[in-house]
């Protein structure tokens, strides 16, 4: 339950609806998202203003007059589609070759598992040189083991 005068939490988890407004206008939100968005709008003047702007822009674009298509436009469009498909195939082949090259030619990283007891030995030997002998070396006499 929100405080009086404060906007309810946006469905995105952030402060305002943002891109969800456009999706709301286009009917692309799920029922739950739409309910949450409309609940937010009831208490957020900023988002209501932005909703009006988005709605106005949408109406403006849809109100534009149809444009007569120039001669040959459809044929040119279909030819561009064929070129695009050929381009996509070439791109896919290049990507596959790149993946193969990176996968085979890249230097392998060796799997490393730090030898924890050895690290402890190294640490205590270093720390005890200018530090406390008893406090550093006594625990090192106890074997480092970890039991689940």
């Amino acid at each position: 339950m929100s405080d009086a005068g404060a906007p309810t939490r946006s469905p995105t988890g952030g402060g305002h609806l943002g891109d969800l407004l456009s999706a709301l206008v286009d009917g692309e939100l799920s029922p739950a998202q739409e309910r949450a968005a409309r609940s937010h709008l009831e208490s957020c003047p900023g988002c209501r203003r932005e909703l009006e702007e988005v709605t106005s822009a949408r109406h403006l674009v849809r109100s534009l007059p149809d444009v007569a298509v120039p001669f040959g436009f459809e044929r040119r469009l279909l030819r561009a589609g064929r070129y695009r498909r050929a381009g996509l195939a070439a791109l896919a082949a290049t990507a596959a070759a790149s993946i193969a090259l990176l996968g085979v030619a890249s230097p392998r990283e060796e799997p490393v598992s730090p030898q924890v007891p050895r690290l402890v030995d190294a640490h205590v030997s270093t720390a005890s040189v200018n530090g406390d002998l008893v406090g550093n070396l006594a625990p090192a006499a106890v074997p480092v083991t970890f039991v689940p």
């Binding site: 993946i99 392998r108 990283e109 490393v112 270093t126 406390d132 550093n136 625990p139």
Partner: protein, 340 residues
């Protein structure tokens, strides 16, 4: 920075005087708060003693205890448990694991830098302490703000450290204890034989300037100053200290093999990446994979300080693997089944 600055001495004297007024009992000779850890080490290096000690620590599974024997003579100090550990003249440090030979882990050729002044971060006070292992002590209390971090009990007569108790973040619960249970000082101990057949695993000093600032920053959070950079085999070890605690940062190239890590760790996030945390009798270990390889931090500091220090590493060094590295790993994973 020299320990014996006039300000440090005035603070130490004021601390001792205040503590004496409050406690009504003067501290013994040889006890000062200037640098208790270093003074205790010097006293132990000169001592001739034999005794038994208890090592007690707490981890997620509960309280653990082990008993070990200790002897010191002719400038050497040796601890005998499941492992044998020795400090020999010339700053030699040797470890012998059961079933294996001796390893020389520090050699006279390596010079260790001085630790920073702990008074920059901690406050210390000295009062007469309880009897430990049958001997009167001076208690040196190490505080950070209002929280007690350590209590050091040094032999009132010789300055040898008899007990070291480390506390949790609240300062009320001891989480680690190293204490003599029986002790004979000035004991007629046979000269300790320093093994001559130890495998030389001592580090080689590395000039910090040859490493990037990501791998060996001059300082970490919470007052940890870099005091040395070394190469140990295929690893780089960067040693840090805040004057009381020490932290070693180990780095090696490669990818962390999580399956081969010891069990018993606690999974944590380290710099946004998955990591593991372990507790050992002397402190904590944190392991994680970063942009430039596999990292491990080993320290006797409280875990909160260790994690804070690790998180303060400069970004771009020990962060998540780079995008290119991730891309290479994905491509390798795709190709591997075809090339097997």
């Amino acid at each position: 920075m020299s320990w014996a600055t006039p300000a440090v001495k005035r603070a130490a004297v004021a601390g001792v005087a205040t503590a004496c007024l409050l406690a009504g009992q003067p501290a013994g000779e040889g006890a000062t708060a200037d640098n208790p850890v270093e003074e205790a080490r010097r006293a132990t290096e000169k001592a001739s003693l034999r005794g038994t000690m208890q090592v007690r620590w707490i981890d997620s599974r509960g309280v653990h205890e082990e008993r070990i024997t200790v002897e010191a003579a002719n400038g050497a100090f040796a601890v005998h448990g499941a492992n044998d550990v020795m400090a020999a003249p010339g700053s030699q440090r040797l470890v012998h694991h059961r079933g294996k030979g001796w390893d020389l882990l520090w050699a006279p050729r390596v010079t260790a830098a001085r630790r920073p002044d702990p008074s920059a971060k901690y406050q210390t006070a000295v009062v007469a302490g309880p009897v430990v292992a049958g001997r009167p002590t001076n208690l040196i209390e190490v505080r950070h703000g209002r929280t007690v971090y350590e209590r050091l009990y040094v032999d009132a007569a010789t300055g040898v450290l008899l007990r070291r108790a480390q506390y949790d973040e609240t300062g009320s619960q001891p989480v680690r204890l190293v204490t003599f249970e029986e002790l004979t000082l000035e004991a007629p101990v046979a000269a300790l034989r320093v093994p001559r057949d130890a495998v030389d695993r001592a580090p080689r000093p590395v000039a910090a300037a040859t490493l990037s600032r990501y791998d060996a920053p001059a300082a970490l959070a919470d007052g940890y100053q870099r005091i040395g950079v070394y190469r140990r085999g295929g690893m780089i070890q960067v040693a840090y200290s805040d004057g009381i605690y020490d932290l070693s940062l180990f780095a090696q190239p490669g990818r962390l093999s999580f399956a081969d890590l010891p069990s018993g760790g606690t999974r944590i996030k380290v710099r946004g990446a998955p990591g593991w945390r372990y507790t050992w009798p002397g402190g904590h270990i944190v392991v994680w994979e970063g942009r430039r390889g596999v990292y491990a931090a080993v320290s006797d500091a409280p875990i909160a300080q260790v994690l804070k220090a690790v998180e303060s590493l400069p970004a771009g060094g020990s962060d998540d693997p780079s995008l290119m590295t991730k891309l290479r790993r994905v491509c390798r994973a795709l190709v591997q089944p075809l090339s097997a």
